[in-house]
């Protein structure tokens, strides 16, 4: 019986049962003896200074252990660099309790530590703070004149700024047969994974820290804690085995980590700090943006001129950037282009990556403009994309490593029934309801960075794989187990993937849709190295039947190494390990992106979304009645978890298009809808038929697995497809997200 590859099989999540039965423990679930609980006090003003913070009454409460403020915090690292984590943009990172300055509304200004959470929360509520308020600005629109170029730094290297202009945009645009221009505005969105942010810091007997943290990067947090608190990295262990959704919110160490570590070190006690739902609105968020597009095309539909400019919010202390405007020319090879991306610093917390950062912002403007162009030219929107189809990325002057977007268009359209569409707006109806069909393209970069993985063959003949990477709910544990099992030809139950622990080999933060390509490639490299090692040892065994056999002549299956031409001859892994006095055989390997090969290709995942909406003609109410997303993302390791990723992205797309926004009252400089009753995301009743197609895409360049990340690609095409469907249904082009039904009255 030869090994049937696990890659490509719809394996159910290995930890699924633990999660749905409540056995899985999250950062705030860890209990240790005599644990103290912290509760954060947040600033009630937007900008100014703390004149006085009176903690006496709070401290007098029996059971309150300490109240930390800027006045009594310990002396900490001096330099900004020491606070800069792996995902920090250019600037000076926010330092909790640094001094009496208030930089934004909701800034943490004190931590109450008490014997119970309830007591800490109550004590926090009676701390009285006197402020000196200063003028502030939180409104992007009215501060447009303050827009400036982003500062360069490591972040802008990873998230490149727009390309320089090419050709002569102004002339090409004015010469174009069809010209469209449009303005787009997006609201701020806040991270609201179901798991709230929490850190449990266990103060060990030897003074070392074991930290259970909600994060997307255990090592990122370990380094941050070490740098900020002057601790030896070996004395800081960060564990994050289960993460209840993160979506970018855990890319940077959040302030509850800082505060809980500070309290634990000062009090020499174990401390937990959990943020509540309102406090989820007091750190990183998707920034509000304003965009303008000007697209021109010739009479045949060829796009000749592309201009895309964006203004985005950032904080006063860091230049958070996203890739918003770089996408249109990657998809549509116009020769005349002009792109701009500027920041407006405002009195807010620094924005933070949120699922498909930048891409979901820019692609809405690009794909809505393409739809508008299709109407201006009287060309079917799908046909217009095909007219402008390219396998070559003109922005980087190189081909795509693979690009089956055409198949996404064709298979998606076929399954959706796009050909039934009457292009005339308001032409399709069901009773009182107008029906609209819309489509849009999605693109997201397929990145790889570096990671290390350790692989061990145990005395029982079982494979253990270790990586510091987290699993933020995407199915990382399951797919890494699949990849590893295939390397050694083992059943899944004989493979253990251990992860989410900074003691394990290096993995970067989990984001950018690069985890499978990065850590998966390292798993593959470690598996390959372990195979070599096992074969070598097997050959050295007394009377080994594998003597003189090369790797080509053997096959790894059934828990051992068998001869290809005579499968009855097999040396079992456990017997190999037994010859080493049952000491596990181990290898640690790193996988790097092959930059020499990769630099000649643009690597990206693509998608096409097709959406049907129903809009009540008189009342404006909108339902996304069905949607199909066709995805080209190379080799799909696990079609089941991959489908879930795409479905989740599609739901998020519906949310972004129709529901999600953080409302700011600029008179107070604060967010007003800080809870899940008022911050709307879709409910089940808002989600109807969703379908996913993975088109076949072979890619021998992108990485060892031929696989592209899929964390973001399910989202990017949905908002424009929905907006385009609404236009088709109603004849109204709403370029402001989210679209509220009353805009269609």
């Amino acid at each position: 019986m030869s090994h049937k590859p696990w890659i490509g099989q719809p394996v159910s999540r290995i930890e699924g049962q633990l999660k749905v039965t409540g056995v899985a423990r999250y950062a705030g679930d860890y209990h240790v003896p005599e644990l103290l609980c912290g509760y954060v006090v947040n600033s009630a003003i937007t900008r100014g200074k703390i004149l006085e913070i009176d903690t006496r009454e709070a401290k007098a409460i029996n059971g309150v252990v300490e109240v930390f403020t800027h006045q009594n915090r310990p002396s900490l690292a001096w330099f900004d660099l020491q606070y800069a984590d792996m995902d920090a943009p250019s600037g000076a990172p926010f330092r909790p309790l640094q001094h009496d300055d208030i930089k934004y509304n909701g800034q943490p200004i004190a931590l109450v530590v008490a014997e119970t959470f309830e007591l800490a929360r109550y004590a926090a509520s009676i701390i009285s703070v006197t402020y000196k308020e200063e003028r502030f600005s939180t409104d992007l629109e009215s501060n447009k004149d303050k827009a400036r170029n982003p500062k360069m730094g490591l972040a802008t290297f990873l998230k490149p700024l727009p390309a320089k202009p090419s050709g002569d945009f102004d002339k090409a645009f004015s010469d174009a047969t069809a010209q469209v221009s449009a303005d787009f505005t997006h609201a701020a969105e806040h991270h609201n994974p179901i798991e709230l942010f929490a850190t449990t810091v266990v103060y060990e007997e030897d003074g070392k820290l074991t930290i259970y943290d909600k994060t997307q990067g255990t090592i990122n947090c370990q380094l941050y804690v070490g740098n900020v608190f002057g601790l030896h990295y070996n004395d800081v262990r960060v564990i994050s085995p289960y993460v209840g959704g993160a979506f970018g919110s855990g890319l940077r160490p959040q302030y509850q980590l800082f505060l809980s570590v500070m309290a634990a070190l000062e009090l020499k006690r174990s401390v937990r700090v959990t943020l509540d739902r309102q406090q989820m609105f007091t750190f990183g968020h998707r920034p509000p943006t304003m965009q303008q597009t000007r697209f021109g095309a010739d009479a045949q539909g060829k796009v000749t001129a592309l201009s895309h400019e964006a203004l985005a919010e950032t904080s006063q202390y860091e230049d958070y950037t996203e890739v918003v405007v770089n996408w249109s020319n990657m998809l549509y090879p116009a020769a005349n282009t002009s792109f701009g991306y500027k920041l407006v610093p405002l009195d807010v917390f620094s924005p933070l990556d949120m699922r498909a950062p930048g891409g979901s912002t820019g692609m809405h403007a690009i794909e809505s403009s393409m739809d508008q162009l299709a109407y201006a030219l009287k060309i079917d929107p799908l046909a217009l994309r095909l007219i402008n189809y390219t396998d070559f990325d003109v922005t980087a002057n190189r081909p795509y490593s693979s690009k089956e977007l055409r198949q996404c268009y064709l298979q998606g359209a076929e399954k959706f029934g796009w050909s039934d569409r009457n292009p005339e707006p308001r032409s399709m109806r069901r009773g009182h309801k107008l029906v609209g069909y819309g489509m849009a393209t999605g693109i997201w970069e397929a990145m790889q960075v570096l990671a290390r993985v350790e692989a061990l063959m145990t005395a029982e003949g079982k494979l253990e794989i270790n990586s510091a990477v987290t699993d933020i709910g995407t199915g990382t544990l399951t797919v890494m187990t699949q990849i590893a099992a295939d390397e050694l030809g083992l059943p899944l139950e004989n493979v253990t993937f251990s992860y989410g622990d900074s003691k394990m080999p290096f993995a970067p933060v989990q984001g950018g849709s690069f985890t499978v390509s990065t850590v998966g490639s390292a798993v593959k490299a470690a598996g390959k190295a372990l195979r070599k090692k096992l074969l070598k040892k097997a050959k050295n065994m007394a009377d080994s039947p594998l003597k003189n056999m090369s790797e080509k002549e053997v096959v790894f299956e059934r828990g051992g190494i068998a001869l290809k031409h005579n499968p009855d001859v097999i040396v079992y892994f456990k017997d190999i390990v037994a010859t080493r006095k049952n000491k596990a055989i181990k290898t640690t390997n790193m996988a790097f992106p092959n930059v020499f090969k990769l630099k000649n290709y643009t690597r990206a995942a693509h998608s096409a979304a097709f959406v049907e909406v129903e809009v009540d003609e008189e009342l404006g109410t909108i339902q996304v009645t069905r949607a199909i997303t066709a995805v080209a993302a190379g080799n799909i390791i696990n079609p089941k978890t991959a489908r879930s990723q795409i479905l989740g992205g599609m739901v998020w797309g519906i949310s972004k298009a129709l529901f999600e926004e953080t409302v700011t009252d600029h008179r107070f400089g604060k967010y007003m809808n800080q809870n899940l009753a008022e911050y709307h995301i879709p409910v089940h009743a808002d989600i109807h038929d969703l379908d996913v197609i993975f088109v076949t895409e072979k890619d021998e360049i992108v990485n060892e697995l031929g696989s592209k990340g899929i964390g973001e690609i399910g989202l990017v095409a949905m908002p424009p497809a929905i907006a385009n469907a609404i236009y088709h249904a109603t004849g109204k082009r709403i370029n402001q997200l989210p679209i509220h039904f009353d805009q269609l009255l």
């Binding site: 009630a44 509520s125 009182h432 009540d616 008189e618 009252d665 409910v683 039904f741 009353d742």
Partner: protein, 339 residues
Amino acid sequence: MNNFNYTRAKNIEDAVLSVSQNSDAGFVAGGTNMIDLLKYNLIHVTLLVDVNHITGHQAVTENADGGVRLGAFATNAETAYHPLIEARYPLLSRAILAGASAQIRNMATNGGNLLQRTRCYYFYDPHTPCNKRKPGSGCSAVGGYNRIMSILGTSEDCIAVFPSDMCVALATLDAVVTMQGVDRTRSLPFAEFHRLPGNTPERDNNLQPGEIITSIDLPANGFEKNYSYLKLRDRSSYAFALVSVATGLDLKEGLINEARIALGGVAHKPWRVKGAEDFLAGKPPTPGNFATAAEIIIAGAIGYGHNNFKIELAKRAIVRNCLMALNPESQRPGAHPSL
């Protein structure tokens, strides 16, 4: 949330006595709004009297006059799914089921539904002025983000909306609210129970301190043949109404014998205008007549910027819901628009 004492009342007299003797005491039934208010630090009780275990007010029963009595401590879910309500007051059932979420309806009680506080953002944010939370501090919603706020019956002191769906149906049905205090039991017609904000927006209703709602009585006519509840909101469930409409029609020989129309999501209380109902009496149930009635109901509406759309939306919703009431089969779960 501060520490407080908690006690389970054995009977109504006991509960009323405990709360009336302590100005910092409060009742808790389902707790679906009370616990929010405690956690948001908006109210500080020293004693919470749990009334969930009091027997005698948890049932839905028929009255001698042909009406039905809703126990104040029956849950919203028990009421909505009760055979008497489903058969005879389907409008009430529909309205309840359009509100909140299944989990909340399983906890929330009928009495508590009448007493829920507004969902105005500024009311829940102790760092902004709000006359309802802190009389005299000002109204942040006027000139602020007021998409969800009132267009009718507002005052310069408050433009908050009363969020209940159930109460819109109860207003339509001319329910009667019965309350018990230490010395007396009294009843109020539904229309007189809730208040407009005026210059005392801190008072949502006419319940006196120490009083507790014990029952809500429904008159015999449940408009079970021609009724509809329509709720327009920013998502399909677990969102408060931007505009909702309850309609009950009594048709005779093709003409409207009696019409009842109440709006939710537009005022500090369910909004009914007798003039509009009188206008419809004796007329054929046509879109034109419903549109005229809608104009009468919405007369005097004022938009505050973000909520201007509610004026036109409410008119259209009234017409649609009246048409849906002619064909109750057209109603969909969740009180979505149909036809």
